[in-house]
Subunit: 306 residues, 2 copies
């Protein structure tokens, strides 16, 4: 069978695409690696910024998205994509067990993962004080002390954002200047409740039930200090899950699949939706919006085929 569209990935982008595809009566399957839907949000302790559903666990929100798909009788297939090729206009996907699926169009909604520090306490307190998204989780730390790790644009913007919300913000950066642009860097440095720890790395994130402090070591002086914080925001990069698709579609230097709001890649009939594509803001709401936009682009593509 040749499907109208195959959706790879079942995070918010993939599930929203599935909802739009089913309501448009397209023939569609969703391929999910984990055998459970939701992507990154499954492990999110609390989501408070998906408009209309405040204060919900990531797992429960995933379930709501998945149930929406199930109401529309969406077909899900569990498997890891190991190959993706074009055969003329046809898109062919191979799973790890050798099964092949073909479609007129494909939506790559494989997401990505934040780069980890790989220090003690990081995984243990993930969602319990350790966060990789200040926009998502900053509001939970109102009037508390937090640390931001990193020195690029995202880290500095996150620190400014958190300084408005939190009592005290420590910024931990391994160099002696930011990679972020001058103007926002000086803005951050002028903020009263911000302390930058230059030439410093995180040794350990400490806590009991939740985070209580961060152990920081200065690379030049070898000095070690413990800072009392209840949140640690790690902003040292993001790794898009685009490895298998790079040989077919264009990616940027960080590995994001190059696609605009309409999710079109450089290959007709191949779309990228959600965190895996080039975009300013990686959020559940923007990923879900991508899913809708991608299906609209798919429909236009199918309308013009032959």
């Amino acid at each position: 069978m040749i499907y109208d569209v195959i959706i790879i990935g079942s995070g918010p982008a993939g599930l929203a695409a599935a909802i739009y595809a089913k309501r448009a009566e397209l023939s569609v399957i969703v391929i999910e690696k984990a055998g459970i839907s939701g992507g990154q949000i499954i492990n999110t302790y609390e989501v408070d910024n998906y408009p209309g559903i405040p204060g919900i666990s990531g797992f429960d929100l995933s379930t709501k998205f998945r149930e929406h798909c199930d109401r529309l009788e969406t077909e899900f297939i569990t498997g890891e994509v190991t190959d993706f090729v074009l055969e003329d206009q046809l898109k062919v996907i191979t799973l790890e067990d050798g099964t092949k699926y073909s479609a007129k169009s494909v939506i790559i909604a494989t997401g990505g993962v934040p780069r980890h520090l790989n220090v003690e306490g990081e995984n243990k307190f993930s969602g319990l004080g350790v966060s990789y998204c200040a926009t998502c989780d900053g509001a939970f730390f109102k009037n508390k002390s937090v640390a931001v790790v990193g020195g690029g644009d995202v880290a500095v913007e996150d620190a400014i954002f958190l300084a408005r919300i939190c009592k005290q913000v420590y910024v931990i950066h391994r160099r002696d200047e930011f990679r972020a642009s001058k103007s926002i860097s000086s803005r951050l440095l002028a903020m009263e409740n911000v302390t930058v720890l230059w030439d410093s790395v995180v040794e350990m994130i400490a806590g009991e039930e939740t985070v209580t402090g961060i152990h920081v070591s200065n690379l030049k002086t070898q000095e070690n200090n413990i800072y009392p914080v209840s949140g640690v925001f790690i902003a040292v990069g993001y790794i898009p899950n685009s490895e298998i698709y790079k040989k077919v579609v264009a990616v940027d230097e960080a590995g994001y699949i190059i696609a605009g709001e309409n999710c079109e890649t450089n290959i007709p009939g191949v779309y990228a939706a959600g965190d895996v594509r080039t975009k300013d803001l990686r959020q559940i709401i923007t990923a879900a919006s991508d899913g809708a936009n991608a299906i609209t682009a798919v429909e236009k593509y199918l309308n013009h085929l032959e």
Copy 2:
């Protein structure tokens, strides 16, 4: 007081922007004309494509969005904006009672209204068979007969979309050829369950509780016919609510404020979010996504001010 950001309009775009602004601890007010939040969706009978909340009335979904804002203690002001000017970097808004509000940035989220046919039955059956959005409501007419009114790209794409879902689609167009592109027009004309009524206009939409038929008159032959349909999709254009803002920000020929995914207009610090901006797909989910993107752009703008 000078606000960080003023949001004009309280549809999904404005409310989502408010949620993101409050969580970022920006000083913000939302100005809403109606004294009730939700925008166009307030009058939508059923919304089934906002991911995670299937099968909800537009009013109830609006309420959920508004409650989300209220949890974050968002300040709403009821009033109609009658003037919008720039005073150096400051944005100044005047309401009909003369009150003025100033802000460093403004998000225009004023939406728009679909162009009406202004025929008997149109208002009466709005949401009860009469729809202005095939993507939104098409799935409710599975295996039923429907009419599409219009001849542009949107009308033809809507008709193709509906032909996959519905038993029979009548397309009513006042000219003898489509304005839509050749390739999709011929695709539509090739579909078995589509009948195009050329040179024809709608005289009346008939029904009892819901739509049961459409009265159509042929402009050349003066012949009148009644077609039994349970849905009428009107696709004769959309009027963005941009009148007051046109003198400040650039709009396209149809009146949409020119802005991309990040909602930036040609004026620094002025953003357009939701249906009022140039975009491919006008849906609740894409409007809500705009709200998040606009606040992210506002934050970057504020970070670089001074």
